[in-house]
């Protein structure tokens, strides 16, 4: 799509706020995400009528109603298909998908994988609260093993899906993670996603205060967050924690591991580079902290993209505009015709 913004100058957050009453539960992380998205939209500089939010089903699915842009609240898991059709026909829109962990990774898993491997020019925001909220509290594909829910009274038997690992394996050219309550970090990631020409995948850790409260408190609560967040900044060594007392190094097996900062000299600490073409680096980051509760936040991967069908929309529109009746007549007749009768009375 065209990423050139028209001069707008006066866009504000209010231009992106619809008049619909938001109906998420009090304290839901979705409010913070909505505010962040509405907040960065003026920075992105695309007028609201050229923005479309396509959502699936679930609490996150309601997002499209609250943005004063174009929007479609579609079918469970199918938002990527609708968005793909939208960009198959239009190259002048900024298209965003808002989805949840059940929507994107369970019922819509196939579409997510294919939108990413095609590199469809859309931004995919996956609100991960590790639970089914709108259906009132069943285990989701990202619920941890052993999780007790209404549908798993003896604890979930299943290993959770790792959203970023899935996206990177599917060929995502942009993959990032943010936390609902980290206003600045979330805004940075959203802006970076908006600038990416191809499919941009963003996992947003989102608290569900009713059915899975505290699932991410270790990265949301101030005191805890400093211990668990691993900020990913390009070209910066991965030191984090209180006064940088933790560091990420590459182990002998090629995987990343977290060690006390004092044990790692500068040469051994991994320097973050999201532009490495080989997805192995980003994949290793997606695994980092899975067992320890540490959470890398920021852009894991941002590599050059050749968006799906780039240039085709304009090319096909131009082609169509040249087909006149005479050409259509020739097309319909094909190479071999014969004539019956000589006149109206024949």
């Amino acid at each position: 799509m065209s990423t050139t913004a028209e001069p707008t100058g006066t866009l504000t957050r209010a231009d992106f706020q619809s008049d619909q009453e938001t109906r998420w539960c009090p304290g839901c992380g979705d409010y913070a995400i909505l505010a962040a998205v509405q907040g960065v939209m003026p920075d992105i500089g695309i007028p609201p009528e050229r923005v479309a939010f396509i959502t699936g089903i679930g609490c996150a699915g309601r997002f499209s109603y609250y943005m004063d842009t174009y929007g479609m609240h579609s079918i469970h898991g199918r938002a990527p298909t609708i968005a793909t059709g939208l960009v198959a026909a239009r190259d002048d829109l900024s298209v965003w998908i808002v989805s949840g962990d059940g929507d994107a990774l369970s019922i819509g898993g196939n579409h997510l994988i294919h939108a990413l491997r095609r590199d469809v020019p859309v931004k995919i925001l996956l609100f991960n609260n590790r639970i089914y909220g709108l259906t009132k509290g069943q285990a989701s594909p990202t619920s941890e093993r052993g999780k007790v829910t209404k549908s798993t009274p003896d604890g979930s038997l299943e290993r959770p899906v790792n959203p970023l690992a899935t996206a990177i394996a599917a060929g995502a050219t942009f993959a990032a993670r943010a936390v609902d309550r980290d206003k600045a970090g979330l805004a940075d990631v959203l802006r970076a996603a908006a600038e990416h020409p191809g499919a941009a995948f963003v996992e947003i850790l989102q608290n569900c205060p009713v059915f899975n409260d505290g699932a991410f408190s270790h990265v949301q609560d101030k005191d805890e967050a400093v211990l668990h967040r691993i900020p990913l900044e390009p070209d910066r060594p991965l030191r984090f924690g209180r006064d940088g007392d933790q560091a990420v190094i590459r182990g002998d097996d090629g995987g990343l591991r977290i060690v006390p900062g004092a044990e790692a000299d500068d040469a051994s600490v991994v320097v973050h580079d999201p532009t490495i073409a080989d997805p192995t680096a980003a994949f290793a980051l997606s695994q980092l902290g899975v067992d320890t509760g540490h959470v890398p936040l920021g852009v894991l991967r941002r590599v050059p993209s050749t968006p799906w069908g780039e240039g085709l929309v304009a090319e096909r529109r131009a082609a169509l505009s040249t087909v006149d009746d005479a050409q259509l007549d020739r097309l319909l007749a094909g190479p071999d015709t014969w004539t019956v009768g000589g006149g109206p009375d024949a």
Partner: protein
């Protein structure tokens, strides 16, 4: 069938119509031979209809009856309606092809066999204990034994570089040459095709030309066939420019025409499935006409992509066959709720489940009409002959665009593969299609109401990017006019009624009735059975009986006068390739005792059975 004149060794017999069937192993190239014979027949100016028939397996075990593939063509000096019931000439390339097809022949039919393919091993594979060429089994028929294998090998000896494998592959063109000679088909059409198709490999090209010529020469010189048959060009068809087309070609062109005439780019999204995939194959190379095809990750995505394209302001189309229609139901339901255009083509095949993927059926009708949760009515149209696939899909696109609704178009495997002469439509004669997008609004204008209806009950199509029309749509029930989320029961009831009324208001012409004075029996049908019904009724009339016939394109909404029409007759008979699905609808709708003639054998209805069914009702 009267005049017999002599020309060289062979007498020439004039026939009004002829049915030829090419049959062989699925690797023998019978579809190709049949298609080329069809081209030549079209060029001769005959009316024609074809019936390809092949197994689901790409290569079923060679030489077995399971692997037999055939292509039947019916051609005539007059207007004909079906691919014919029983062949006058059967070409059988191996024992299995003979075994499968002989039971369908009538006494006196001609059988042309490759006698060298009747080896002991091949006979065993086909289930013959003795060689039917020698044991008298074929006495009721005119048997022509041709040593095709060695004749083709000999013909290719003069082609430098030709291999024995190539000789084996060229046997179908030899057989084609024999039959082309028998019916005096113009060779230039076939030779030109060979030259173009094999332009890249001169050895293959020359080999195939040699095999075809050898077949023709064999007919001319061998004296094994002593009567040549002439079928004069058809003259009783409406004047105009004609081409040959199967249903797939006509339907693909209909979509392109709808795109051109509406000015909406065509976005066609599909997932590979037999037999609907051919539409994707025909549209994928149409970039020059602005067509964008997307091979989706699954049937669900194919429907979603088409709907997303419609939302964007394009002509979104998806096509599938039975199992895929199951999966598209949720996207179709969303399109009903969003009130956006969407064309869904279902090329029906025998179900349920995988069923018989290469055999035809009309058994998805009730699913098309009712197969969605909630109250989700939509227009359903069915094409009745290959050329009609163009008109039907064009009308479906027009309805979808102008009424903002999904439309299901029913075709079937028989229609999609069957070819017939098609009077080429003129672009200028096609009905205009007006997308009438909602125009931009100024900030001072009153607020945009995305669900405000016009006098046809149609809402605005406000495409993303339009200043002043920002709005949200979705699957949740909407407040009338504003489109805001609404869980108000009374509003829901009004919206259900409004959506239904909009669809019910689609313009449908009155029932086209082919009525004899005094007829008290009506034969009514829909879809691809039209040809069989026309031919069956014609036969009954030739016996001196009065009978009426009607054929429906619009299955929802039905023609406004249909109830009155049905009630006019003492007896209404409805033959269909299902267990009586449309009959059930008509009974429910009009309280008329519609009688079903069901065909569930995976084949098209035949003229003879329609004739029998009508005669039983008359008796």
């Amino acid at each position: 069938m009267a005049t017999v004149t002599h020309e060289q060794h062979a007498a020439v017999e004039e026939r009004e119509r002829v049915i030829v069937r090419f049959a062989g192993d699925s690797g023998d190239g019978m579809q190709l031979a049949g298609a080329r014979f069809t081209d030549a027949t079209a060029a001769s100016g005959n009316d024609l209809a074809t019936l390809p028939n092949f197994p689901a397996e790409i290569r079923a075990p060679a030489g077995t009856t399971a692997g037999v593939s055939s292509f039947q063509i019916h051609f005539a000096a007059r207007d004909i309606a079906t691919p014919g019931d029983t062949p006058d000439v059967l070409v059988a390339m191996n024992p299995a092809a003979l075994r499968v097809n002989v039971p369908q022949l009538e006494r006196g039919a001609r059988i042309i066999v490759n006698e060298e393919a009747f080896t002991r091993r091949a006979l065993q594979k086909a289930g013959y204990d003795d060689n039917p060429l020698d044991d008298g089994t074929l006495d009721p028929f005119e048997l022509t034994r041709v040593p095709m294998s060695s004749l083709v090998s000999r013909a290719l000896e003069d082609v430098e570089g030709a291999t024995s494998r190539q000789a084996q592959k060229a046997r179908n063109l030899f057989a084609l040459g024999v039959v082309a000679w028998l019916y005096d088909r113009p060779t230039a059409v076939i030779e030109r095709w060979i030259d173009q198709k094999f332009a890249a490999d001169d050895v293959v090209r020359r080999g195939n030309r040699a095999a075809f010529s050898a077949g023709w020469a064999f007919g001319e010189t061998s004296e094994l066939i002593d009567v040549r048959v002439r079928v004069a060009p058809a003259t009783d068809v409406p004047p105009g420019e004609y081409r040959n087309a199967n249903g797939t070609t006509a339907m693909a062109l209909g979509l392109v025409a709808a795109s051109v005439r509406s000015g909406l780019p065509l976005v066609f999204s599909a997932y590979p499935i037999t037999p609907a995939s051919d539409l994707l194959h025909q549209l994928a190379p149409r970039a020059a006409q602005g067509v964008r095809t997307v091979q989706a990750e699954d049937e669900i995505a194919a429907a979603g992509i088409a709907l997303g394209a419609s939302y964007a302001g394009a002509l979104g189309v998806t096509a599938t066959s039975g199992p895929g229609l199951d999966l598209k139901a949720e996207a179709i339901g969303l399109a009903v709720m969003l009130e956006l255009p969407l064309v869904v083509i279902d090329v029906q095949r025998a179900g349920p489940s995988t069923g018989m993927p290469t055999k035809t059926e009309q058994s998805d009708l009730l699913q098309a009409l009712y197969g969605r949760h909630g109250e989700a009515p939509l227009p359903v149209l069915a094409a009745s002959n290959p050329g009609d696939c163009f008109d039907t899909v064009y009308e479906a696109a027009r309805i979808a665009i102008e009424r903002r609704t999904p439309v299901i178009v029913l075709s079937d495997l028989f229609l999609s593969n069957s070819s017939a002469p098609w009077r080429v439509p003129r672009a200028a004669d096609l009905a205009p299609i007006d997308p009438a997008f909602a125009p931009p609004r100024e900030p001072d204008d009153p607020p945009f109401l995305p669900y405000e209806r016009d006098d046809r009950g149609v809402r605005p199509w406000a495409i993303p990017g339009t200043p002043g029309l920002r709005h949200r749509v979705g699957g949740i029930e909407k407040q009338e006019r504003t489109g805001a989320i609404s869980y108000d029961g009374a509003n829901h009831a009004r919206m259900v009624a409004a959506r239904a009324a909009k669809v019910a208001g689609v313009d449908v012409p009155p029932t086209a009735l082919d009525h004899d004075d005094g007829a008290d029996i009506l034969v009514i049908g829909w879809g691809s059975s039209e040809g069989a019904l026309i031919a069956g009724v014609r036969r009954v009339r030739q016996r001196g009986h009065a009978v009426a016939r009607a054929h429906l394109r619009h299955l929802h909404p039905l023609p406004p006068d249909l109830g009155d029409v049905l009630r006019r007759y003492r007896r209404v008979v409805l033959p269909e390739m299902n267990s009586g699905q449309l009959a059930r609808v008509l009974r429910a709708e009009y309280l008329v005792d519609v009688r079903t003639h069901a065909c569930l054998e995976g084949r098209p209805l035949q003229a003879a059975e329609i004739e029998r069914v009508i005669l039983e009702e008359i008796a």
